[in-house]
């Protein structure tokens, strides 16, 4: 798998360690953060670069994911999701990461150094890389509806404020 990795100064060392580990597992890892440790550098640029690289890879049919390392991870999630089509989640527990892949087709994982040890971080990343999206139309619809809103401010052609009331519109909700 091609894995784009980024981090600010808080996550730099942990990201370098993850990079080595992922390479040892046979992944192609692309480094997007500062080449050398850069005290005080911000997460925004690295987060956006990882998000953009993942989207470009998706458009080019690559088997691709992104990993960003931060302190609490919140800013990185917000920044990476500003990339059009971005699907970044924080890594806070194993079941939550598994659901993020299975239901949300998350493409970028933000590892928070404040909330996980090195070993826990690696197992969260493993779960992220190994869990497949479930390929149900219901989950696909939610992702595509979100993507549509992002681009046109509509959901299935409707502005959110004008969306038909439930008695006029019954989307299939089998789960």
């Amino acid at each position: 798998m091609k894995i784009h990795i980024g981090a600010d100064w808080h996550g730099y060392e942990r990201a370098r360690s993850l990079q080595q580990w992922l390479v040892s597992l046979g992944h192609e890892v692309v480094w997007h953060a500062a080449e050398q440790f850069d005290q005080g550098d911000d997460y925004v640029l690295w987060s956006v670069r990882v998000g953009e690289a993942v989207l470009t890879g998706e458009d080019n049919a690559e088997d691709v994911k992104g990993i960003i390392v931060g302190v609490d991870g919140n800013g990185e999630v917000i920044a990476a999701n500003k990339v059009n089509g971005g699907r970044a989640i924080g890594a806070y527990s194993l079941p939550q990461v598994v659901e993020g892949r299975r239901c949300n087709n998350a493409s970028v994982l933000v590892v928070p150094t404040a909330f996980c040890t090195d070993e826990e971080g690696r197992s969260l990343v493993s779960a992220f890389l190994e869990t497949s999206f479930d390929y149900t139309v219901d989950n696909a619809r939610r992702i595509v509806n979100t993507n549509e809103y992002e681009n046109s401010k509509t959901i299935e052609g409707w502005a959110a404020a004008d969306f038909p009331k439930p008695d006029e519109y019954h989307p299939a909700t089998s789960n």
């Binding site: 998706e58 089509g85 999206f133 019954h170």
Partner: protein
């Protein structure tokens, strides 16, 4: 069962004033490949099929130029031609060597309503390659859907003249029959006919490799600024996933996957799906506010090409 002489849907030829914009959209964003171009016209192929092209675009007043089908072989083509002449079908030209890109041998005629149809054989096929895993481009043209003002008359014409078979239908308890899905091979439908306010293209649909490719393609096309009008979801008729968009010429276009295959045609019983009972996903043209929006988009502009042969 009537012995079918049509083997499959070949291509849809369209004309539009904003030809360049439409061509760029299909090549840059939709995922077709330009295989040939002439002044004001473009032939677009799908990577995964050897069919020389699946869409032809031409600069001109907006219309369906023609719908192209393949015959099983030259003998069936000649036989179909004789049959259509005997039935009084308006012929545009008799079977001959075709001069447009990819050549072949074929004839053109008008259907009941005046759409130009072509049946051909022996076209010069192109190289094809399998669509890669995760590649967000169409495998092939899946089906073409047309609006008509007399659903039963048009449907029966395709059954009696070209050997199509109804696979499933959509019906409404008050409005009656709304749409027939029709096959000419084991694919659940290659064409469909919809009761509309006028003659026009309802939509054309392109098959993606699978759900992953369908999702990636949908994301890509949304980011290109394309307006989405319906979906994504899964149809009851045909069991295929769908996502509908509007192209620069105002035609509705679909990415689909997993269209049902009818393995045993003898055992297949066509269903009449009540659109008020099935999920909203299939409510083409029904009365509620939501589907009126979808229906209006898919009514499309009035086709100016009825009983007017395309210039080439």
């Amino acid at each position: 069962m009537y012995e079918r002489k049509i083997s499959h849907l070949r291509y849809l030829a369209l004309a539009m004033p904003n030809f360049e914009e439409e061509r760029d959209f299909f090549v840059k964003h939709w995922g077709l490949t330009e295989v040939h171009s002439e002044d004001g016209a473009s032939w677009l192929g799908a990577e995964a099929v050897s069919e020389p092209f699946v869409v032809r675009l031409r600069k001109g007043e907006k219309r369906i130029d023609l719908i192209g089908f393949a015959a099983n072989n030259r003998e069936d083509l000649e036989s179909l031609y004789t049959d259509l002449v005997a039935k009084g079908v308006k012929i545009i030209h008799e079977p001959k060597e075709l001069t447009q890109f990819s050549g072949g041998y074929g004839f053109r005629f008008f259907d009941l309503d005046g759409r130009t149809l072509e049946v051909s054989v022996d076209v010069k096929e192109k190289a094809a390659r399998p669509i890669k895993e995760r590649e967000p481009i169409p495998v092939k043209l899946s089906h073409v859907v047309m609006n008509t003002v007399d659903l039963e008359a048009t449907t029966n014409w395709y059954i009696e003249h070209l050997g199509f078979t109804i696979s499933d239908s959509l019906v409404h308890p008050h409005m009656g029959k709304l749409m027939h899905f029709m096959r000419c091979n084991k694919a659940h439908h290659s064409i469909a006919i919809v009761q509309g306010p006028h003659y026009s293209l309802h939509h054309m649909s392109f098959e993606m490799r699978g759900i992953e490719e369908w999702m990636r393609g949908t994301g890509k096309i949304l980011r290109a600024g394309t307006r989405m009008v319906w979906g994504p979801g899964r149809h009851n008729a045909g069991d295929n996933t769908f996502a509908y968009f509007v192209d620069p010429a105002g035609n509705t276009i679909e990415y689909t996957t997993e269209l049902e295959t009818i393995h045993d045609e003898e055992a297949w019983v066509p269903k009449e799906l009540d659109v008020t009972q099935v999920s909203t996903q299939d409510q083409w043209g029904t009365a509620n506010q939501f589907s009126e929006y979808v229906a209006r988009e898919s009514f499309n502009d009035v086709d100016k090409g009825m009983f007017v042969a395309a210039p080439f």
